[in-house]
Symmetry: C2
Subunit: 283 residues, 2 copies
């Protein structure tokens, strides 16, 4: 089986490495417009070869678009134009509405399966990839009814190989929920990082006074702007709503603190504590 990965970073690289462990005859062809990433992917044996997009896509059994979401929207129709009639195309974008609508009328739409693996770290590039990133994580498949049964079966089999759970969702719901449970977390973390950096000009204070709690909350502020800037644009409407709600709750907190209303701040925290029950289910 020939797998073509477009954008050999954390997610594309981990997908390839994970599949190599269970599919002995897998050949991975990498496509990357960053020559440094391409070279590293070869060195790290994530890919067997690097090829130009057209050549790679036309000989692939499976093409995975693992680039930032703006590049996915731009490349996906062209990739579908180029693939063999038996090939399957997937994308790993963290947004789904715009990506799905970019190919909604494409004659080969049914060869495409819109997926989103709920996995990642704050690191990026091929050196961040590892074989077990996707293990026991959720793969969301959007608009499964628009993909052919053959294509869906292949993707479900690969998820099984990777020990992933499969979940289904329409693209609109996906983008709305993701704004809350993923995109908002990133913005809260980016903003926390900026707030602290702007205040603490003397970095020694941060070293001395920040504990594991701060590290955990601000971890996502290390994430790649290349990946996130296009997500914020594509899912802007939902993220804006999530941010408005988040800011409102923070303002409520601030007012309660300004009023020294310990009863109300206690009640707010108790409400937040409900998250304990839910986090037990998330790895």
């Amino acid at each position: 089986m020939k797998l073509c990965i477009i954008g050999i970073g954390l997610l594309g690289g981990s997908f390839a490495l994970g599949l190599k462990e269970t599919i002995p005859d897998l050949t991975v062809i990498g496509v990357d417009n960053n020559p440094e990433h391409a070279r590293k992917a070869l060195d790290l044996k994530i890919v067997e070869q690097i090829m130009p997009l057209e050549a790679a896509v036309s000989i692939a059994d499976l093409v995975a678009l693992a680039s930032p979401v703006n590049a996915i929207v731009a490349l996906l129709p062209r990739v579908l134009d180029l693939v063999a009639p038996s090939a399957v195309v997937i994308d790993f974008g963290s947004t789904k509405e715009l990506i799905c609508s970019a190919v909604q009328h494409h004659p080969k739409r049914d060869q495409f399966v819109a997926v989103h693996p709920i996995a990642g770290t704050e690191y990026s590039g091929p050196e961040a990839a590892f074989a077990t990133l996707l293990k026991e994580k959720t793969m969301i498949i959007c608009e499964p009814e628009k993909s052919s049964p053959t294509a869906l079966t292949l993707i479900k089999e690969l998820c099984h190989n990777l020990e992933m759970r499969v979940s289904y969702m329409d693209a609109t719901s996906h983008d709305l929920h993701l704004a809350y449970v993923s995109h908002l977390s990133h913005i809260s973390s980016f903003a926390l990082g900026i707030t602290v950096l702007e205040k603490e000009k003397n970095e020694q204070n941060i070293f001395d006074m920040a504990g594991s709690g701060f590290s955990s909350t601000v971890r996502l502020a290390k994430s790649s702007p290349d990946m996130w800037a296009p997500i914020f644009t594509q899912n802007g409407r939902n993220i804006s709503e999530a941010l408005r709600n988040y800011i409102e709750i923070l303002q409520n907190f601030k007012e309660i603190i300004d009023n020294q209303d310990e009863k109300k701040s206690y009640a707010l925290m108790q409400e937040a504590n409900e998250i304990r029950r839910i986090l037990q289910g998330i790895k």
Copy 2:
């Protein structure tokens, strides 16, 4: 050596367990107004005995106040009244200004060392305690000039036993910096938890769609309201300022996203990425 711990939770319990490993003749006496915590502390061998406050404090060589900060402010003057002239008193409060001012004119002020161990988890109670919590963490000593050299020497020796770094700071600076690098993180996390819980009435969506990024960012939302409500009151002025700055940056992010201004969101994230350098130094 007789150590009296008032409030045998995560921090008090871990302090006792850590010291037991290097001080063979240490006897730990627990004081706790929660009988369940007292019993657990005995069961877990964190303390050798449970005693009423007056009795425990009057025979102790070292008293550590490890209760919520409102209880510390209320108890500290009384504890100083009761201790032997050779005893040392410390508190582990996450705020320092009000605690220090509560005993600023106390005749035994120099027997008190105001410390803050920068360590913790989102869990609380004696069962959350473990011997290495404080290892390689920072102990901030506030107003060292108001403590006697003997008292300071003892505390520095104990920090050495626990393999902690010692750092010095005045109480006002401590509270200001802590508002940014610790208290704000907690509020951002509590608010994130509430935002997501209020939106996602169907919890299955959170299970399916939230990844490790969300878990990390929202982890502190599991923290104890008993501990945090009084901190928010005591450090209200600084936290309010930190929150105002944080909300401003979030509003800026929202405006940029509403305007689909990818260049500006990219630049903001690059600014936040600076935190990478600093997090390398924090365990």
